[in-house]
Subunit: 460 residues, 3 copies
Amino acid sequence: FRQYQPFRHRDTYIRVSLPAVCFVWQIAMVVLFGVFIRYNEESDAHWPEYKKKQNITSDAENDFYYRYPSFQDVHVMIFVGFGFLMTFLKRYSFGGVGFNFLIAAFGLQWALLMQGWFHSLDYNTGKIYIGIENLINADFCCAGCLIAYGALLGKVSPVQLLVVTLFGITLFAVEEYIILNLLHCRDAGGSMVIHAFGGYYGLAISWVLYRQNLNQSKHLQGSVYHSDVFAMIGTLFLWMFWPSFNSAIANHGDGQHRAAINTYVALASSVLTAVAVSSLSHRTGKLDMVHIQNATLAGGVAMGASAEFMITPYGALIVGFCCGIISTFGFVVVTPFLERKLKLQDTCGIHNLHAVPGMLGGFISAIVAAAATESVYSKEGLVSTLGLEGKFANRSPGTQGGYQAAGTCVAIAFGLVGGAIVGFILKIPIWGDPADDNCFDDEVYWEVPEDEETIHPVLE
Amino acid sequence: FRQYQPFRHRDTYIRVSLPAVCFVWQIAMVVLFGVFIRYNEESDAHWPEYKKKQNITSDAENDFYYRYPSFQDVHVMIFVGFGFLMTFLKRYSFGGVGFNFLIAAFGLQWALLMQGWFHSLDYNTGKIYIGIENLINADFCCAGCLIAYGALLGKVSPVQLLVVTLFGITLFAVEEYIILNLLHCRDAGGSMVIHAFGGYYGLAISWVLYRQNLNQSKHLQGSVYHSDVFAMIGTLFLWMFWPSFNSAIANHGDGQHRAAINTYVALASSVLTAVAVSSLSHRTGKLDMVHIQNATLAGGVAMGASAEFMITPYGALIVGFCCGIISTFGFVVVTPFLERKLKLQDTCGIHNLHAVPGMLGGFISAIVAAAATESVYSKEGLVSTLGLEGKFANRSPGTQGGYQAAGTCVAIAFGLVGGAIVGFILKIPIWGDPADDNCFDDEVYWEVPEDEETIHPVLE
Amino acid sequence: FRQYQPFRHRDTYIRVSLPAVCFVWQIAMVVLFGVFIRYNEESDAHWPEYKKKQNITSDAENDFYYRYPSFQDVHVMIFVGFGFLMTFLKRYSFGGVGFNFLIAAFGLQWALLMQGWFHSLDYNTGKIYIGIENLINADFCCAGCLIAYGALLGKVSPVQLLVVTLFGITLFAVEEYIILNLLHCRDAGGSMVIHAFGGYYGLAISWVLYRQNLNQSKHLQGSVYHSDVFAMIGTLFLWMFWPSFNSAIANHGDGQHRAAINTYVALASSVLTAVAVSSLSHRTGKLDMVHIQNATLAGGVAMGASAEFMITPYGALIVGFCCGIISTFGFVVVTPFLERKLKLQDTCGIHNLHAVPGMLGGFISAIVAAAATESVYSKEGLVSTLGLEGKFANRSPGTQGGYQAAGTCVAIAFGLVGGAIVGFILKIPIWGDPADDNCFDDEVYWEVPEDEETIHPVLE
C-alpha cells in the first residue's frame, strides 16, 4: 500500500457525491434528532415548574448563564479560529475556511447524537436531553476533526472530509466515554480527548494517504503576504478565547475561574518562548509567521487537562514555557524530518501544535493530579476537582494520576488506529480527491473569481 | 417613472451634504436625548435603593448580567457581521464596511428614541428610561436598515443611505409597535419585524432606483480572491452569533436557553443543504462563494420568530434544511430572474437571505404557535412563551398563530410601501449618487490608496 | 541630542538579543510568579469553604461571572483590536499584529506582578492573590504600552519594544497607584491612567527617537487597499467592545450597566462627527480611511474616566460629538504640524486618538464629578460611584473633581518624563533598530513570503 500511483486518473467531479452525502446525512440527522433529542429541564418550557420543585430562587442559576459566554467563545474558536488559521495557503483560503465550516456544521449535529448516547441518554425514556453544556461538548468534538483536517489541508476532497468527520466524531465519542467515564480521567480542556486524539488521528490518516509527488504542487504550498495576515485572525481568536475553551465545562465557581487564569498565563508564556526559538532558528534572527501562527498556542493545548487543577500560576507559566519551545522546535526540525523519513505530510504541522502538546498535557495532568493534597485543595475541593466521588471516592490522588496517564495513551491509540483505518477507507478512488499536481488549489472545488493580479504570478 | 436618464449629470460632490446631514442630525440627537432619554432603574445610581425596595438580593439580578453577553454578540453581528459580509466586491470594501459603520452608528441613536417613544416612554415624566434591553433593540432596529443596504450596495451615496436609515428606523418602530404590541405577536429573533421588513424595504427601494445601464459597471460587480475571504469574516460572525441574536431579548431562563439551542441546530442544517444545492448548480459540482457566504445563514433568519417556541431540535433542523435549499435556489435562479424580468437589482441578494426566509420564519411561527399545547409547554410556560397574559390572556394558541401570520403580512406591507416611498425620495437628484458607469467603486466616496497591483487589472 | 546620524551603522541582527531577552525575562517571570502569585479566594479550590464561611448562597456571586464576559471583550481589544488597527501599512502588517502580540503577552505577565505589588499584595503572607479583575487590569496595563507602540510603529525593533513595555508597565503601575490610590481618582475606563499616559509616553519616546531621513522610507509609509480593510477589523473590534472596556472593572450592578450605556452612545456620536469632518477636509468630500479607522473611537477614550458617572446619555453624546471633531481635526492638521515643527513622528496618530481625548476625558470627569449631587446619585450611589468612602468619606464632589484634574496631570507628566527617559535608553545602538531607509518594512524582522504581485510595485 501507499505506493506511487502515477497514472491513476483523478476525477474531481463531486456534483453527485457531495450533494448526495450532504442531503442523505442531513436527512438522517433530522430523523435521529426526531427520535432521540429533546430539551433538558433547563431549556424546556417546564423550567418554571422545575425551578419551583427544586427550590431554585433565580433564573440566574440556569446553567445557560454560567456557560453561554464561554460557549460563544468556543464557537468562535471552532469556526473563525480553526477556519482562518487554515487560510494561510496562497490559493486555498476558500477551502481552508469553507470546508472547515462545512465539516464543523455537520460534525456538531452528529456529535450531539453520539455524545448524547454515551453521556446524556435517559434510559427510561430513551431520549437525549440537551442543554448548553451539550452544545459546548459538540463543538469540542468537532475540534478533534478540525485538527485532523489541519494535516490533510489541500490534499483531500470535501466528501473525504465529511467521511473523516463522521468517523472522527464516532471515535471521539467512544474514546471520550472510555477516558472520562470508565477511566474517570479529568480533562476539562481536552488535552487528551481533543488534541492528542485529533492530532494523531489526522497524522495517521495523512500517513496512509502519503502522496509521493506532492512536490508537483509545491508552487502553491506556501503563503502570500495577505494570506498570512488572514491566518493571524485565526491564531488570535484561538489564543484569546482559549481560556474559555479550557474553562467552558469546568466546575461552576472556582473551577471555571481557575481554569481561565491558568490558561491565560500559560498562553502568554508560550508566546515569548515561541518567538525566542523562532528567532534563534533563522540566520539573522528573523521571525517565521508559521511559528507565530501556531506555536504560540501550544501552552493552551498543554494546559487543557490540568486547567482546573491547583497547578499554580507559575506552574502554568512553566507549562507554557516548555511547550512554546517544543512546539517551535517541532516546526523547525520535526515536521521536515517526518516528511523526509516517515513519509508523513502534515500541512499545518498539527504534530507540533496538537499531537505532542496534547500528549504532554495529558502527562502533566497525571503529575499534577498525583501531587494533589488536601491542604492545597481543601477536603471538598479535592473531591470536586479530581472528581473523587461516587464509586471513585476511594481513589487516591496518586491513583488518579496513573489513570490520567492511561487516558492519554488511550487517546493516542484511538487516534492512530482509527486514523489508519479511516485512511484506508479514503484510499478507495471514489471520493473525488485531487491529483498530486492539483493539490492546495481552490480551483478544484470552488468557483474562483478571475483575479489577474493574484493568479498570474502563481501561474508563472 | 423609472425611465432611463442617460444624460442626467451625476455630481458625486458630497462635501456639503454629508457633513451637513451628519452635523445637523447628530445635534438633533443630542437635543432629543437631552429632552427624553434617562437611565432606567437598573442603570441609574439609585439602583442600590431600588434593590432594597424590591427585595432584590443580588446584583446578579440586574438585567445587565442576563443580557450583556448576548448584546455584545449582536453588536458584533451589526458592525463586523453585516459590515464584512458587504466587503465582497473587489473595489467596494471601504464602502461596504465603512458606510455600514456610519448608518448603524446613526441608526442606533435614532432607534433608541423611536423605539423609546413607542415602548419605554413613561407618560408621567415624559421620559424614556433605557437599559441594556434598549441597546439590543436599537441594534436590532439598525439590522433592518443594514439589510436594505445590502440591496443598494455600490449604487447609492452615503447621504442617501442616511436617508434610508432615518426613514427605515421610523418605519421599523411603527411596524414593530403594530406587530408586537397591537397584534401582540411573538418575534424574539425578528424574522418578521427585522428580516421580512428590512428585506422588502430594501427591495422596494432598489426597484424604484432601477439603473438601466448598470452593466457599465459590470467589471467592478464581482469579487476578487481576498475580498471573498474578507466576506467570510462577516458570514462567520453572523453565523456564530445568531444564537445570541435570537435569544438576546427572549425570556430569562428557559426562553433564552431554548432560543439559542434552536438557532444553533437550524444554522448547522442550513450549511449542509446550502453546500449541496450550490454544488448541484455547477457543472462539475464546484461550490460558489456567494452561496456559502449567504445561504448558510438562512436557517437563523427563519428561526427568528419561533426561536423561543418548543419547536423541538428536529423541528429546527427541518427549518434550516428547507431554508438552506430555498435560499441557495434563490441565488441561483430567482435573483437573475428578478433582475431580468422585474428590473430589480439586488447587489447582495437580500431577497434570498432576508426577505423570503424572514417571511417563511413568520409563517412557521404561526404554525408552531397554533400547535402549542399545555402538555408540551406546561401551563405557566405556555402563558409566558406565547405571551398570553394581561388583556391577551384569553387568546388560544390557534388565534395566536393567526396573529403571527397577520404580523408577517404587516411587516412585508410596511417594507414594500415604505420602501417605494423612500425610493422616490431618493430619486430627487440632490443626494450625490454615482452614475451608472461609476457604481461599485470606492474611488467615488473614498480616498483610495494608490495600489498598482490591484487597480491596474480593474482599469484594463 | 536628537541630531542626525547619517553614517551610523544599523545592524538589525537580533538573533542574540531577541531570544536572550525573551528567555531571560520569561524565566524571571516564572521565578517571580513562583515567589509571589497565588490564586485568590474566588479562584482557589478552597472557594466552597469560603462560600460557606461568607454565607454566599450561589456560585453566581463569584466575581468571575460578573466580569468574565467583559474580560474576554477587553482581551479581544488588546490582541485583535490594537493588533489589526496597526496592520494598515502596506508592508508592516506582520510587525503590526505580530509585535503587538509579543509585547502584550509579555506585558500582561509583568503587569500582574507590578499591579499586584501595588494593589493586591497581602502584607501578612507576602503573596499577590489574583482573580479575574487582575487579568482585566493586566490587559489594561498592556493597552498603555500598545498605544505607545502606535507612535513607534515601523521604526523600532522588537527588542526595543520589549524595553518600552518593561518600563511602560512599571511606570503605569506607579502612576496608577498615585492616581487611583493616593489621589483616589475614579477612572473606570482609564482615560487618564491608560490613554493620556500611554499617549504621551509614546509621543515622548518618538520625539527622542526622531529620524531626520525617514522620508527615505516614504514609499512604504502608506496603506494598500486590503491593508486598510484589515485595519477596519481592528477599528471595529475596538469600537464594539469599548463599552466592555469602560465597564469591565466598574461597580457591580448599575455601575457596569451605566458605563456600558454611556460608552455605547458616546461612540456612536463620534462616528458621525468624524465622518463629517473627514468629508469637510477633502476637496470633493471624499472620506479618508485614516479618520474612519481612528477618530471614530475618540468618544470611547474620552468617556473612560466618567463612564460610571451619571453623565446622562446626552452628556455622553456631547462628549463623543466633540471628541470626534477634535480627533479628526488632529489627523488633518495637528499631526502634520507636529511632524514639521516639533519633529515628532507619530505613525498611527496616537496624539489624536489617545493623548488628547484621554486628557480631555480626565478633565471631563473632573467637571462631572464636581457637579455630582445627592439628588441625582442618591446618598448611597454618590458614595459608591465617587468612591467617597473610608478615609475619603469627607471629600465633597467638588474636591473630588479637583483631584480628577490633578490625576490627569500626573498621568501626562509620567508619560512625558518616563517616555523621554526610555527614549534615551533606546538610543543606545545595541537594540537592532532599522536604518531610516529601512523602516516600515517587514523584511527586516520577518521571513516574508515571496509574493510577486505585491512586492514589485513597492520596489518600483
